[in-house]
Amino acid sequence: MHTVLQRGNSILAYALSVLACLTFLCFASTVFLDYRTQAKMNTVKVVVKNVPDYSASREKNDLGFLTFDLQTDLTSLFNWNVKQLFLYLTAEYETPNNELNQVVLWDKIILRGENAVLDFKNMNTKYYFWDDGNGLKGNKNITLTLSWNIIPNAGLLPNIFSHGQHSFKFPMEYTTSRV
């Protein structure tokens, strides 16, 4: 502590240690919170086509098209340790080939301070709903779930499943016209 540089080094190191403690306390104050909440989903229009998947094998695979409604209020999820939410809508279904298929159809980033009350009507999906075979036609149980990944200042990056899901079925026939 007898030179200017030593004192500067000492208080900088101490301030950074305190900052680390504060960050840990911020993490500890939010780690046990329940980040689940209600989300209402619905599908409006559902069709399935059988078209070649040029991005993969060029074989004809099932491609689903759907539009959906989504209603949820995520305002309560934000606190001082949440910088943003990454929402994603997943379709889960079973085929003879695979016990569990999961396809992300749509996603959205909500920064803290942005409007977190969502009310979407008749939204198109953002990503293609490809099956890796012919598992979509006539599939009776496709489940849509909304999940979110919480991006914090400090701590864990949990993936949270919302309460509420929606199940629908694909038609028995392929659509051949343009959709």
Partner: protein, 98 residues
């Protein structure tokens, strides 16, 4: 050059201890206040800014060798030669500690 060298830059031992203690108190206090305030308004950035202000204040108060850290100088025995006779101090030579 003599003028610059004449500026006292040292702290005495007691001053060093007080400077360290003061900086610890200031940074801890600002950190605690910042944590509480940040939690109240739910903005962790405010906590960090308040801690930063505490760091700046502590740096200003304890890094420069202010005169208040020089109030208890050590009382050195006068220098003696081998016969125990006190040697007269040279006024121009100011020995720097350490």
């Amino acid at each position: 050059m003599d003028f610059i060298n004449a500026i006292p830059t040292h702290m005495d031992y007691d001053g060093q201890a007080r400077a360290e203690r003061l900086s610890r108190y200031i940074i801890t206090l600002f950190g605690a206040v910042g944590l509480i305030w940040g939690y109240i308004i739910q903005q962790f950035s405010q906590t960090v800014y308040i801690l930063g202000a505490g760091f700046a204040l502590a740096a200003l108060l304890t890094i420069p060798p202010w005169p208040m850290y020089r109030r208890k100088p050590l009382n050195w025995q006068p220098a003696r030669d081998e016969n125990g006779v006190i040697i007269k101090e040279q006024p121009s030579k100011k020995g720097k500690k350490k």
